[in-house]
C-alpha cells in the first residue's frame, strides 16, 4: 500500500499540493501492479474531504486524532504516522513537499532508519526504486536510490498536475487514536498566532504577483512598483537582495529561502533572475519581465519582456492602466 499524508487548510479541504501528491501516488500504484493508495489525515475528515479523496482514487482515509496529536509536534505526529504505517503495512510513505510534509517525512525516516528523498519530481524504475528530485533550489536534479521499505519521500510542488482518478476509490475512513510517548511531545507548539492581514499567505496564493529586485534601487523608490501592484490587484514579491538590504520585509521574499509562488502572471521588475530567486517563481504560468538588461536570465526565461529603465516603464504602464479605467 502507498500511504500519502494529506494536509488540509483552515476550511478542512485538501491543499492543492497534497492532491498532486495523491496523483503521484496513483501513478506509482499504476506502475506497481495497482497497489492500493491510502491517505492519512490529522484532525477532522469532513464528508467533502472524504468524497474528494475518493474521487482521487483513495481506498482508505486514515484519520489520526487524540490527545497525542492535538497540538503539533514533529516527533509526536511522526510517531502517529509510524503507527498507521505499521498497522497498514505500507511500502511507501509520501507527502507534498510543504514545510510540514517535509519535516514529518524526515522524522519518520529518522525513526525508522530509512532514507528520505525531498522534492521528488518523478520516478524511474521500482526495483531498485529510483527517484529524480530537485536540488540546488531546482537548478539541478539528483537521481537517487531509495533502498529501504517503506520508501519515504516528498513530492515537489507542481511536479505533477492534480487530477481526479478515472475510477474512484472507496474513501472509507479508518480511525486511529495512537498513544504518543511523552518524550515525543517535548517539542510541541504551545501557541499559534494568526498573521497580520498583510502578512498572510496572500503572496503564495496570488493570481498576479509584481516582483521587485535590485533594479528598484532603494527603499524609497518602491512607489511606482507598489502602485502597479495595487492597480493589478496583485501581491508584491521581492528578491533576496531587496530584503537583505532592508528595503522590504522578509515575508515578501520570493525564492529558495522565501516563498514559492505559482501565479498566473508574474511581473518581475529589475530582477536579474539568480537561481535563488528563480527557485521561488519558476512555477508562474506567464512571466512579463521588465529589465534594463536584455541578456538577464529573467528576461531570457520570461514569456514577455520590456527592456529599459523600470522607473520610466512602470509609471507609463500605471498611467495607461488608469487611462483605460483599470484600478480602484
Amino acid at each position: 500500500m502507498i500511504l500519502t499524508l494529506v494536509e488540509t487548510d483552515l476550511e478542512g479541504g485538501a491543499i492543492e499540493v497534497s492532491l498532486e501528491a495523491v496523483t503521484f501516488a496513483r501513478d506509482l500504484s499504476a506502475a506497481g501492479n495497482g497497489v492500493p493508495v491510502d491517505a492519512v489525515v490529522f484532525g477532522d475528515v469532513s464528508d467533502d474531504l472524504r468524497g474528494e479523496l475518493a474521487a482521487y482514487g483513495v481506498r482508505n482515509v486514515h484519520r489520526v486524532a487524540g490527545d497525542g496529536v492535538a497540538a503539533y509536534s514533529g516527533a509526536g505526529w511522526a510517531s502517529a504516522l509510524q503507527s498507521v504505517l505499521d498497522a497498514a503495512g505500507s511500502v511507501v510513505l509520501m507527502a507534498a513537499g510543504t514545510d510540514r510534509g517535509t519535516e514529518l517525512m524526515a522524522h519518520v525516516a529518522a525513526r525508522t532508519g530509512a532514507s528520505m528523498a525531498a522534492n521528488v519530481l518523478s520516478f524511474s524504475g521500482l526495483a531498485p526504486f529510483i527517484v529524480t528530485r530537485q536540488v540546488v533550489g531546482g537548478a539541478a536534479m539528483e537521481e537517487m536510490k531509495l533502498h529501504e521499505r517503506p520508501a519515504i519521500f516528498t513530492v515537489a510542488g507542481h511536479a505533477v498536475e492534480a487530477k481526479p482518478a478515472d475510477v474512484s476509490g472507496a474513501g472509507d475512513v479508518v480511525e486511529h487514536t495512537p498513544t504518543v510517548a511523552p518524550e515525543d511531545l517535548l517539542a510541541a507548539v504551545v501557541s499559534t498566532t494568526q498573521p497580520e492581514a498583510d502578512e498572510s499567505g496572500a503572496l503564495t496564493s496570488a493570481k498576479v504577483v509584481v516582483g521587485a529586485g535590485r533594479g528598484v534601487g532603494g527603499a524609497e523608490k518602491f512607489d511606482d512598483v507598489l502602485e502597479l501592484t495595487e492597480l493589478l490587484g496583485a501581491a508584491l514579491g521581492v528578491s533576496r537582495v531587496v530584503t537583505s538590504a532592508g528595503w522590504r520585509p522578509h515575508h515578501e521574499q520570493v525564492g529558495q529561502t522565501g516563498s514559492r509562488i505559482s501565479p498566473d502572471l508574474y511581473v518581475p521588475c529589475g530582477i536579474s533572475g539568480a537561481i535563488q530567486h528563480w527557485a521561488g517563481c519558476s512555477s508562474a504560468k506567464t512571466i512579463l519581465a521588465i529589465n534594463s538588461d536584455a541578456e538577464a536570465p529573467m528576461v531570457t526565461r520570461a514569456t514577455y519582456a520590456v527592456i529599459g529603465d523600470l522607473h520610466e516603464i512602470v509609471p507609463a504602464i500605471n498611467a495607461e492602466l488608469r487611462n483605460r479605467g483599470y484600478g480602484a
Partner: protein
C-alpha cells in the same frame, strides 16, 4: 541566568547566484567558477547563536563537515562572534544526511566528555545545494533530544524547571511558538534576524582562534545518489514587447489579453 553554550552547524556550498556546473563524475556541484558561500539559513543560525550566547555569557561554537577550504566558512562565523570552531574533514558530497548527523552527534558527545556541553544545537533548515531537509532532525534522534524545525528566531530563557529555548517560526496556520527545555536542537529558516557583517577587528580576532580538526568517526554510507543532472537548456522564447515607456500600451494590451485586469473606478 546560567550561561548557555550553543553549537551552530554550517555548510560550505557553491554560490547559487550563477549558473550551476557539475563535476565531471556528476556527483557534485562544481563551485570553482561560482565561488562558495554559507547557506542563507545558516547565516541566520550563526547570528542567532551569537545573540543567544552573548545574552547568557556562553560560548558559541561553529562546526562544519567539509574539505580543507571550508575553513573559510568557519573563519567567517568566528569573525561575527563565534568563539570556537570544529572542522570535520571530509567530502560533503560523499556523506548522506544520516552520516552528517552521526558526525555532528559524535562531536557533541566528545565535547561533552571534555566538559563542554552544547545546550543548544542550531542548524539550517536545509542546505542550499543538497536540499535534504533532514540533518537537524536526524541529529536530534542521534542525541535523544527534542527538535524544533524551521524556526526563524530563538531565545534562551530561564524557567522554574531550568533553561528553555523559545523558538518561533511560520506554520501553516500562522506563527508558531515552541518552548522546549534544554538541551535541544533547532533548525533555522532565514527571515527572523539580520546577520551582521564582520568588522575588521572581528576578522583579525578570528584568524587567531585555533580550529579543532577531526577525522570522521565512521565511514559514510552515502547519500544514495546515482548522479546529478542538469535540466536541458531551455531555448529562450521571450517575446520583447518593446523598449522604454513607449511599450506601455503593448503591456496593457497583453494584460487585457491575459484576462488579469478588473475594470474599476479611475482614481483621481
Amino acid at each position: 541566568m546560567a550561561s548557555a553554550n550553543v553549537l551552530v552547524c554550517v555548510k560550505r556550498v557553491p554560490d547559487s547566484t550563477e549558473e550551476v556546473v557539475l563535476t565531471e563524475d556528476a556527483q557534485a556541484v562544481d563551485g570553482r567558477r561560482s565561488g562558495f558561500t554559507m547557506s542563507a539559513h545558516e547565516e541566520c543560525a550563526v547570528e542567532l547563536a551569537v545573540q543567544a550566547t552573548a545574552s547568557t555569557d556562553g560560548q558559541a561554537t561553529v562546526l562544519t563537515l567539509g574539505e580543507a577550504e571550508a575553513v573559510e566558512q568557519l573563519r567567517n562565523a568566528l569573525a561575527v562572534g563565534c568563539t570556537a570552531a570544529t572542522h570535520v574533514l571530509g567530502d560533503p558530497f560523499a556523506f548522506g544526511p544520516g552520516d552528517v548527523a552521526r558526525e555532528i552527534a559524535a562531536v557533541v558527545r566528545d565535547h561533552e566528555a571534555e566538559g563542554r556541553v552544547h545546550d543548544l544545537v542550531l542548524l539550517g533548515n536545509d542546505a542550499a545545494d543538497s536540499g535534504d531537509f533532514q540533518v537537524g532532525i536526524r541529529l536530534a534522534y542521534e542525541l535523544g533530544r527534542p527538535v524544533v524545525n524551521g524556526a526563524s528566531t530563538v531565545e534562551i530563557e530561564d524557567s522554574a524547571d531550568g533553561p528553555v529555548v523559545v523558538a518561533v517560526g511560520e506554520g501553516p496556520d500562522g506563527q508558531e511558538t515552541y518552548r522546549v527545555a534544554l538541551p535541544a536542537v533547532v533548525t533555522i529558516r532565514e527571515g527572523g534576524v539580520e546577520p551582521r557583517y564582520p568588522s575588521v577587528p572581528g576578522r583579525l580576532k578570528a584568524k587567531k582562534v585555533p580550529i579543532e580538526e577531526r577525522q570522521p568517526v565512521s565511514e559514510p554510507t552515502g547519500p544514495g545518489r546515482v548522479k546529478l543532472v542538469l535540466p536541458p537548456p531551455a531555448p529562450s522564447a521571450v517575446q520583447i514587447l518593446g523598449e522604454g515607456p513607449e511599450a506601455a500600451p503593448a503591456v496593457v494590451d497583453l494584460l487585457e489579453k491575459l484576462g488579469v485586469l478588473t475594470p474599476g473606478k479611475v482614481a483621481p
